[in-house]
C-alpha cells in the first residue's frame, strides 16, 4: 500500500475541499493527488478527531466531508466500534503499531484493504476498495474447486504430464504432474507416488507402448491433439481410447477411456456376424435385398450358383436375364412379375417358376420376396429368397408319372384280364350247362374246380380294378352326412348282420368334406370285417367318433376274434390275408382300399387288438 510521502502539519481545520487553505505548494500538490485518488484516506489526531479526510473517504462513509469537521471518529462512525478497525486504530494510536487487514464495508458487497499507520500526531488510515480483486480470487477459487471436482470424479482418466526430451529434442519419456482418482484406481497407486513418476518407470519391463510414444511425439510435433482409437495396454490388460492434448506451457493432458467392454461387445458382434455369414454362405437358399429400383444390393452368393452364372441385376428390367416360365400356363415370367418386383409395390409373394439356367439346364425355383420399409412405412427395397427346387420337382414329377403309370397298369391289366377270364368262365359254365350230364362225375368235378378258380380270379381282378380307381375316380369331395353313409353301409350289410345275429350301435356322426361313395366303402369294409371275423358270441359292433385337433377320429370296435398286433402293417397290404378263404371268404383287398381312401382324405388308419378280445379300428378324416 502506498503510504503518504509527505508529512503535513496537523491542522485542525484541514479537511478536504472545505478549507481550501494551502499550506505551501508541496502540500497543495499532495492535496490534489489525495483528492483525486480512488483510495479513501483520513488522519486522526490523538484525540480521535479528524484532521484530514479526502473526498473518497467521505463518500465511503456516505457523508458530507463537512460532517467530520472537529468530530471524533467514534462520534461520526460509531458502527466502527468493536470492529477490527477500532482494534487496529487503537493499537496504532496507543502502541504505535501499523496494521493491515481486509474488511467489509458498511455496504456488505464492498471489501477494503485497510492500512493503519501510526503518526507522530495521531494515525493515518488508508482504505482501498479491493472488491473487484476479491471477487476474482473467489471466482478463481470456486472455479478451481469445480474443476477439481470434475477432474476427480470423471469416469475417465485425466492426467497432466511434462515431456522428457533427449539431447536432440526428441520426446523419450514423460513425467506425471497430476492424475485424477480414476488413474489412481486403475494403477492402484496413490497420487503422491504417481506425481513425479516417469511413464517409463510405470511400464517398467514392458517399455512405453509404441502407440503411446508415437502419439505423444506426433502431438508435440504438430502441437495439436492426437487420439488413439483403441489400444490394449500391457500393464493393466485393458483396451483404452486415449487422447493427448498439448498445452502451451510444455505440458499436456492425457484423457484415457476404458473401452474394454465396448471392444469385447464389438468382437462378440463380429464373431456373431462371422457365424451368421458362414451360415448364409453355406445355405443353398439364395437370399438378399434389393434397392428401390430392384437392383441387388446384398446377397449371400447362392444366386449365381443356382443360376450357374453371374447375375448383375441393377434394376427390375435386368430380371429379364433370368429365363423363367409360369409352370401352369407355360407363359414367360415378365420382369415385373418376379416377387422382388412385386415386393417393391408392397406385395409379399411366393411363386414357383420353371427356369432355364445359364448353362442351359432346366430347373425350378421357389421365389419369395417381401417389401422392406423405412420407419415411416415407405418402401425402400425388397428382401428375397430363391430356392432351387429342380431336384425336388423332378422327383415329384417322376413319382407322379410312376404313380400314374402304375394306376394305368392296374387298370389296363384288370380290363385285359377280364376278357380271357370271360372266355374261361363263360365256356366252362356253358360246357357244364350243355354237357354236364354227358361227361361223367370226375370231369364235372374238374370243371367245377376250374370254374371256382376263375370266379376267385374274377374277384381279384374286380378288387384290383377298384383299388386302382380310388385316386382317379370318386365323386369328388362334397359335404357328406356320415349318418346317412353308415346307414347305407348297414343296409348293404343287412343280410350278413342278420345271419350272424349281430348288433351294430352307431353314435351320432358328423358331416364331413369327403367322397361319399369312398366313405361308404370304408365303413362297409370295416363293419363288414367286424361281422365276418366274429368269435363265439354274436357280433357286437360300436361306431363312435371323437374330435381330435383338426380331424375326426372314428372308432369301430368289435368283439370278434381279434388280430395279433404284429400284423399292424401287413394287414393293410393288398390281398394280404390272415385266414384261408374257405374259413373267411374274401380277397383281402378291403383294408388296402380303406387305407388308400383314408389317406386320400388326409387321414390315417390303424387298429388296436388282442387275439380273442376283439378289435378296434381307428381312422381319421380331416375336417
Amino acid at each position: 500500500m502506498a503510504s503518504p510521502t509527505v508529512r503535513w502539519r496537523p491542522i485542525e481545520h484541514r479537511v478536504a475541499g472545505v478549507t481550501g487553505k494551502m499550506m505551501g505548494k508541496c502540500i497543495g500538490l499532495s492535496d490534489q493527488i489525495l483528492e483525486r485518488i480512488d483510495d479513501g484516506i483520513f488522519v486522526l489526531d490523538r484525540d480521535w478527531r479528524f484532521i484530514y479526510l479526502n473526498k473518497r473517504a467521505a463518500s465511503i462513509f456516505g457523508k458530507d466531508p463537512r460532517d467530520f469537521l472537529g468530530k471524533t471518529i467514534w462520534e461520526t462512525n460509531p458502527e466502527l466500534l468493536g470492529t477490527p478497525m477500532e482494534a487496529a486504530c487503537r493499537s496504532a494510536m496507543e502502541r504505535g503499531e501499523a496494521s493491515n487487514f481486509e474488511m467489509k464495508g458498511a455496504d456488505a458487497d464492498i471489501w477494503f484493504e485497510i492500512a493503519v499507520t501510526p503518526m507522530s500526531s495521531g494515525i493515518m488510515v488508508h482504505g482501498r476498495d479491493i472488491t473487484e480483486r476479491h471477487e476474482e480470487v473467489r471466482a478463481l477459487r470456486e472455479r478451481e474447486t469445480r474443476y477439481r471436482g470434475l477432474f476427480e470424479n470423471l469416469h475417465e482418466g485425466v492426467s497432466v504430464s511434462r515431456y522428457i526430451l533427449d539431447e536432440w529434442g526428441e520426446v523419450t519419456d514423460w513425467e506425471l504432474i497430476d492424475a485424477n482418482t480414476w488413474i489412481e484406481r486403475l494403477l492402484e497407486r496413490r497420487r503422491c507416488s504417481l506425481i513425479g513418476m516417469r511413464v517409463s518407470q510405470l511400464y517398467g519391463d514392458h517399455g512405453i507402448p509404441d502407440a503411446l510414444l508415437s502419439a505423444v511425439r506426433e502431438m508435440r510435433r504438430t502441437n495439436s491433439s492426437v487420439s488413439i482409437e483403441s489400444y490394449r495396454d500391457p500393464l493393466v490388460d485393458k483396451d483404452f481410447h486415449v487422447s493427448f492434448l498439448p498445452q502451451s506451457d510444455g505440458s499436456f493432458y492425457v484423457l484415457t477411456i476404458d473401452v474394454t467392454r465396448l471392444k469385447n461387445a464389438q468382437s462378440r458382434a463380429e464373431e456373431d456376424r462371422a457365424r451368421l455369414q458362414a451360415i448364409l454362405d453355406s445355405t443353398p437358399v439364395a437370399m438378399g435385398i434389393t434397392d428401390i429400383n430392384g437392383g441387388v444390393l446384398l446377397d449371400n452368393g447362392a444366386l449365381s450358383k443356382i443360376w450357374c452364372g453371374d447375375l448383375s441385376l441393377k434394376n427390375v428390367r435386368d430380371y429379364s436375364k433370368c429365363r423363367a416360365w409360369w409352370p401352369e400356363s407355360g407363359e414367360p415370367v415378365r420382369p415385373e412379375e418376379w416377387p422382388a418386383a412385386q415386393a417393391l409395390k408392397g406385395r409379399t409373394s411366393t411363386e414357383t417358376f420353371d427356369i432355364e439356367k445359364f448353362d442351359g439346364t432346366r430347373g425350378a425355383l421357389i421365389v419369395s420376396a417381401s417389401p422392406i420399409r423405412d420407419q415411416g412405412g415407405a418402401i425402400i427395397g425388397a428382401a428375397w429368397t430363391v430356392q432351387d427346387v429342380s431336384d425336388i420337382k423332378r422327383t415329384e414329377e417322376e413319382l407322379k408319372r410312376s404313380n400314374a403309370d402304375l394306376q394305368q397298369y392296374a387298370y389296363v391289366a384288370s380290363h385285359d384280364l377280364q376278357e380271357p377270364l370271360r372266355m374261361v368262365m363263360g365256356h366252362l359254365e356253358l360246357l357244364m350247362k350243355r354237357h354236364g350230364d354227358d361227361i361223367g362225375p370226375d370231369a364235372a368235378d374238374y370243371i367245377s374246380s376250374a370254374i371256382e378258380g376263375a370266379k376267385r380270379m374274377r374277384h381279384l381282378i374286380d378288387d384290383l380294378l377298384a383299388y386302382s380307381r380310388i385316386e382317379s375316380k370318386g365323386e369328388g369331395m362334397t359335404l357328406v352326412d356320415l349318418n346317412e353313409v353308415v346307414s347305407n353301409a348297414l343296409s348293404n350289410l343287412q343280410a350278413s348282420i342278420e345271419e350272424a345275429g349281430g348288433q351294430v350301435d352307431i353314435e351320432p356322426l358328423p358331416t364331413v368334406h369327403a367322397d361319399g361313395a369312398q366313405m361308404l366303402q370304408v365303413f362297409q369294409n370295416i363293419i363288414g370285417n367286424a361281422i365276418k371275423f366274429r368269435g363265439q358270441d354274436p357280433p357286437r359292433v360300436t361306431v363312435s367318433v371323437r374330435r381330435r385337433s383338426g380331424s375326426w377320429l372314428f372308432c369301430v370296435k368289435d368283439n370278434g376274434i381279434g388280430i395279433d398286433l404284429k400284423h399292424q402293417d401287413d394287414l393293410f397290404k393288398m390281398f394280404h390275408r390272415l385266414h384261408g378263404s374257405d374259413k373267411y371268404p374274401g380277397t383281402g383287398i378291403g383294408l388296402a382300399i380303406s387305407k388308400k381312401i383314408v389317406e386320400r382324405h388326409g387321414g390315417r388308419i390303424w387298429f388296436e387288438s388282442q387275439p380273442g378280445k376283439g378289435t378296434t379300428f381307428f381312422f381319421t378324416v380331416r375336417g
Binding site: Q418, M425, G426, L430, R469
Partner: protein, 139 residues
C-alpha cells in the same frame, strides 16, 4: 313265339365272345341269324349292300378302329338303320360308362361274366329284339 326270324349284327374281333353271344341268343328262344363282322368296314359294307338287322351290337375294342370312329359309325348308321345300335363292352368301370354317354352312346351292354350274368344278358337281348324301345342296360 311269333315265328319271326330275327337278324342280329355283331361287330366283334373275338371269336369266343361271338360264340357266347350266339349261345345267349339261343337262350332267348327266338329264331335268329347272327351276322358276325370282325371290323367296322365289313360291317358298313353289309349295310351298303342292302343288309338289314333287328339289333346291332358293336364291341368298342375292335383292333384297327378307334373307339371314336366306331361311335361315329354307330351314330351315322343309327339314322339309316332301323334297329337299336348297342355298344357291347367288356368294361364294367363306371367311368367308361360315363365316357360312352359323353360320346353320345345311349345304349350299351356289358359283356357278361359267367353263366349267371349270361342268363341275365340273354333276357335283355330278348327284350331288345321284341321291343325296340327297351333301353339296354348293363344289368
Amino acid at each position: 313265339m311269333d315265328g319271326r326270324r330275327y337278324s342280329i349284327v355283331l361287330v366283334e374281333d373275338n371269336e369266343g365272345d361271338t360264340r357266347l353271344v350266339d349261345e345267349m341268343l339261343v337262350d332267348t328262344g327266338l329264331e335268329h341269324d347272327l351276322y358276325w363282322f370282325k371290323d367296322a368296314p365289313s360291317f358298313e359294307r353289309f349295310f351298303s349292300e342292302g343288309g338289314r338287322a333287328d339289333l346291332v351290337l358293336i364291341d368298342l375294342n375292335v383292333p384297327g378302329t378307334s373307339v371314336h370312329d366306331l361311335i361315329s359309325t354307330i351314330k351315322r348308321r343309327a339314322g339309316e338303320v332301323d334297329a337299336p345300335i348297342v355298344a357291347y363292352t367288356g368294361s364294367s368301370s363306371p367311368e367308361d360308362m360315363v365316357r360312352l354317354r359323353e360320346e353320345g352312346v345311349e345304349r350299351y351292354l356289358v359283356k357278361p361274366m359267367g353263366l349267371e350274368e349270361m342268363e341275365k344278358t340273354s333276357a335283355v337281348l330278348r327284350e331288345l329284339l321284341l321291343d325296340e324301345k327297351v333301353t339296354a342296360d348293363r344289368s
